[in-house]
């Protein structure tokens, strides 16, 4: 966690404090960008943009918000912008995603998905769902923190997260059926 004193010093114009603060958050910024964009180079670009924006906008941060949710808001906005420019359409129609009960439960419970497959499956989620999953699992955010970061109502956050998990199960199940895994 970034010390409030460091944030205050950075806001007061202490250049060293501001740079130290950016160093503290660079990994968490990159992690979000990496899982949202699913591409190392794009993630490096987006997280550098985010850090520069944080540098220039540090005075617009107010203590009533959590610093880390404010940071994540900036990086997710940049990433969403980036992948909207790249891929204008969403690859999966979320309305077609109907939860499948019980089939093949035994085989799925027994096998563990490789991290790579999960990352690819996250990349196939609609952007809001993907963002919610990344904040929940890569930043360990609570529902409330996700809602603050994305400026979404709490119930919307929950429904995105719940649907995202169902979609991930279907996507990972498809991988298995497609013969990628035994």
């Amino acid at each position: 966690m970034v010390e409030p004193a460091l944030i205050k010093a950075a806001q007061a114009g202490d250049q060293d404090a501001l740079v130290a603060l950016l160093r503290e958050i660079e990994n968490q910024v990159y992690r979000t960008a990496y899982y949202l964009l699913n591409n190392e180079q794009d993630a490096l670009d987006a997280s550098q943009d985010a850090l520069i924006r944080i540098y220039t906008k540090i005075n617009s941060y107010e203590e009533k918000a959590q610093f880390r949710t404010w940071v994540q808001r900036i990086v997710t906005n940049i990433c969403i912008d980036k992948f909207r420019r790249k891929k204008p359409s969403v690859s999966i129609d979320e309305h077609d995603m109907i939860f499948q009960s019980g089939d093949n439960v035994e085989t799925e419970v027994l096998s563990a998905y490789a991290a790579e497959e999960i990352r690819e499956a996250i990349g196939k989620l609609p952007e809001h769902h993907r963002t919610v999953v990344v904040l929940r699992y890569l930043q360990d955010f609570s529902y409330n923190e996700i809602a603050d970061s994305l400026n979404l109502p709490l119930n919307t956050v929950k429904s995105y997260l719940f649907r995202a998990r169902q979609q991930l199960q279907i996507l990972l199940h498809d991988y298995q059926k497609g013969g990628v895994r035994g």
Binding site: Q15, V19, L22, R23, E26, N27, V29, Y30, R31, Y35, E40, A43, L44, S47, Q48, L51, I52, R53, Y55, T56, S60, Y61, E62, K64, A65, T69, W70, R73, N77, V90, F99, S101, G102, V105, E108, V109, A112, Y113, A115, I118, R119, H128, V133, R136, Y137, L138, Y143, D148, S149, N151, L152, P153, T156, K158, L161, F162, R165, L168, Q169, L172
Partner: protein, 303 residues
Amino acid sequence: MICQEVMELMQRYIDSDLDQQETSLMMDHVGQCPDCAAILARLQKLSNELEQLPRVVPKFSLVDAIMPELERLHAAESITDSNTTVEESVSHSKPIIARSHRPSRSLLRNITGVVAAGVVAGLLLFGQPDQWFLSGSQSNNDAAMPSPAAAVAESPLMADESQSLENSLTRKMVVQDQSGSSDSEPKNDSEMGDQKQLNALGGDSSNSVNPEKSPMSISSIPATTSESADGKWRAIAVEGTGTFQVYNTADNSEYYASQPRVGTVSLFEWNSDNTLLYFTLTDAEGVQTQWQLDLATATESQR
């Protein structure tokens, strides 16, 4: 208790969001319903795997990589501090970039012009942050700034601008809703609140402010601005300088700053799908050249 109700409990259970009573309700059902027990096992497995995703780190220090840019920004900021007023820097920007045949001086002057333009744009954009950041939502985290009312009191002339910005933001929100890509609720309540505050303070109550209208004209700084038809981008060129900037209207971040040139950038126009920005460069002898900026690649080329 039906399985569908238990589904939500199980999802929340995965996120440790259940109280004791809800937990035992869920467990009672899961104990009797093999289908739900299986679903819960799958959910838990997926969630565990998501939790174990590798915490990737960048292959080089990002802060080191952007340090030159940060130092440039810091230097520009120091120059801002040393300038007394916006008006002064603008009124001086024209003579500063007068043509010179000495390349090194010319470069220095151009840079000064760029800095002056940056100062003006910066003050316009960020000196009145609440005007530009009015996102129509009081719960917005980024709206962690002074109240709109206070800013209007300081600068009644800017009320028009903030309204046109609100209009453009509203328009954007409508577009998003139509495309079904946004579940966020329209924030009419707080927007109306802002509107009332503006009206109470003598702001223009008309909502028909044309967003294309140059906002600079009302604050006495000569500049050309143009917003793309989709409301996503805003190009600003301060008169008398050979540079312009493109801002992302969603969060007012600078998306692109042009190369410095001798002359004046004017006559912005967007192509139909808002991917190209056309502009005219007029040099000191009045010779005009036509240019375009490709937003996707951020490259300028002569037409």
